[in-house]
């Protein structure tokens, strides 16, 4: 029995090696773009949305410089070690011209050194941690970074809500939430001129279910507004618990809230909450947005998420840079990418600053009648 099993394994091995062997043919008429996303594991939902956007862009713009563009998708399994290997595979084995990705800043950071060494320009779609692009001239991104979003919400709280005292509830194990909260605090202090304007800071961990301890403390401080950046599930629970405790002040947050689950869990309680995001499907910002919205609805029969639009933008930005460079030389493409100003993407006009971060408008949305509704656009 065991011997047969062994033979069977050997046979599988031989066939598999043979298959992998003959699949590799070099084709100079193809430009390869690596897609480096979590397709399996904890971040799979976000990664797949981005891939949808990228695939749509590839379908609409399949060629550049008269060559066919081929997407090489590498799953990074939402795992940092795996992410580094996947990036190395794209750079060294697949020899891609450029890379898009990844959902999740920590995964993107794992690829940072590898793309820098391999000199492959990489465009992140929705990784918002400033450390991703800092000190890495080959990493760019089409989204704004956490500091900007924190600043936008501080402005909103101060100018539109007339808040003088704020409380912060942050998901402390999430780099994104910590970043937002930090910049919110900094700017809110500047705007109010009051160093004690943040009356309470409460932390929770990913996966927490009960927030009554933090909320009771906040209620006693009686803030004008609560800023609660964090994961959608926890945030929705937090908001409904806050309302049950009788906290009536406005609650504001960040782009991670924009998911159906947030509405499903929060139901009535999340009515009226305000958050900043990248993209609003009801008000197309550019001509490209219109094309994207139409095609996306046609292709996937649903409303696009912001990250899908960002994935789409990352792809067309790379294509544009290749066109401008007129060559597939990665160093030249990088130079062209760095020069990007006022590029028309589906999620707004993109200009890249000296760090390679996008400077673009933020969209403010709120929940109205159980739906995310556009409220305002804020210039950088």
């Amino acid at each position: 029995m065991k011997r047969n099993l062994m033979l069977f394994f050997m046979a599988v091995l031989v066939v598999a090696v043979a298959i992998t062997g003959c699949g590799e043919k070099k084709d100079s008429n193809v430009i390869k773009i690596g897609v480096f996303e979590p397709i399996t594991g904890a971040n799979a939902a976000g990664g797949q949305l981005e891939v949808e956007g990228i695939k749509l862009a590839n379908k609409l713009y399949p060629e550049v410089l008269g060559k066919k563009v081929e997407l090489v998708i590498a799953d990074n399994k939402s795992d940092k070690v795996e992410a580094a290997t996947a990036a190395a595979r794209l750079v060294e084995k697949e020899k891609v011209t450029a890379i898009i990705g990844s959902w999740g800043s920590s995964l993107s950071m794992a690829a940072g050194d590898i793309v820098k060494k391999g000199k492959v320009p990489t465009v992140g779609a929705s990784c918002t941690n400033p450390l991703v692009t800092k000190g890495n001239e080959y990493y760019f991104r089409v989204c704004f970074i956490d500091p900007f979003q924190g600043t936008v919400m501080a402005n909103y709280a101060f100018n539109k809500l007339n808040a003088k005292k704020a409380a912060i509830v942050q998901e402390v194990s999430n780099d994104y939430a910590v970043g937002l909260a930090n910049y919110f605090t900094e700017n809110f202090k500047k705007l109010t001129g009051d160093p004690n304007c943040v009356v309470a800071v409460a932390n929770y961990n990913t996966g927490d279910q009960d927030f009554s301890a933090q909320l009771t403390n906040i209620k006693s401080k009686n803030p004008d507004v609560i800023f609660a950046p964090g994961n959608f599930t926890e945030s929705a629970l937090l908001i409904s618990q806050a309302r049950k405790l009788g906290i009536t002040c406005p609650i504001i947050g960040g782009d991670t809230w924009e998911t159906q689950e947030f509405l499903d869990i929060g139901k009535k309680a999340v009515e009226g909450v305000v958050f900043s995001t990248f993209f609003a499907s009801e008000t197309p910002i550019t001509n490209e947005s219109k094309t994207f919205l139409e095609e996306y609805r046609k292709e996937y029969k649903k409303e696009p998420a912001a990250v899908a639009a960002l994935g789409y933008d990352a792809y067309i930005l790379i294509l544009d840079a290749i066109k401008r460079a007129g060559t597939t030389d990665t160093v030249k493409i990088r130079e062209e990418l760095a020069k990007t100003t006022n590029f028309e993407g589906a999620a707004g006009f993109i200009s890249l600053d000296e760090n390679g971060d996008a400077v673009k408008d933020a969209v403010i949305k709120h929940v109205k009648d159980g739906k995310f509704t556009y409220l305002d656009t804020i210039k950088p």
Binding site: R3, I19, E92, S106, M109, N129, L131
Partner: protein
Amino acid sequence: MRRNTILTAIALLLLIGFLAFADNFFDLYLVRILNLCAIYAILGLSMNLINGFTGLFSLGHAGFMAVGAYVTALLTIPPDVKKQIFYMTPIMSPLDVMNLPFPLALLVGGLLTAFVAYLIGAPALKLKGDYLAIATLGFGEIIRVIFTNTQSITNGALGLKGIPNTTNLWWSFGTALFTLVVIASLIRSSYGRALMAIREDEVAAESMGIHLAKHKNLSFIIGAFFAGIGGGLLGNLLGTIDPKMFTFTLTFNILLIIVLGGMGSLSGSVISAFVVTIANEWLRFLDEQINLGFMVIQGKVGTRMVVFSVLLMVVVLFYRNGLMGNRELTWDQLCNSKIWRGLSARKRGTAIAEGGEK
């Protein structure tokens, strides 16, 4: 006996030759996979010492790795880079200028991890079986939560980046070899026999005069030391670490390696570290489109993980005790194996792994 020494020397020379060749001619992707294999071998060996040889069902490996990785990283990141990455909460004062050469930092990382293991081990090792597993699992999570919240030391959830990549094939394989030699000699010494006696029957071992607490602690601390070093190497290879990396899934990855290789077999751990790492990466071809010559199969991304899981189940079903059980791969066994004899006597051969079973 002399034959074995010669064979070992030849194998070592071959390994060195292979590493020199790989270092110069392999692309960075392959080198990275080899590095990972060696690092996982270190982690597997250290966990096998605790779980396989001493019979302590400990699940705190990710915690140990986190300590080693953070200490090594904080000691090797240059001060100006530190200033750049701690842009939110400035780093604590003695840490911001501290800088040690990589080997020294790695050693300090290992020693500190061992110290942490000593602190944890003293109370936790009083527990047995499942209870110990829960306590150590809790320890791993606690370490992660502490690292998330101490922003001025670890940069919290933002993580660290810019760790200079010093890890190369010589470092990873050298350390793996060192780990193998140290743990193998420990197992062969009277201490090692005592550990195995504890695994088989604690009461019997104690009645033979073995100091249970002392020996369990010894195994726990040495295992943790190498886990810390493995963590340090891993962080250094990646160039960036953050607390989310060290969740219990990491512990289970290593547990998978030692269970697949065989609890209580050093060579099993090494073989399975290589098999798991390489298979996991090599199966990627399933995610891409497969060209069979006469037809093209459009791959679905994610197939790899399904196939990998099925393969694991098959192996575990047919090899209850892992690939090697608790046997070791020795020269004697290799030379007497059925394959070798089969080749010379034209008998029917079976695999090396089954050498001593039938």
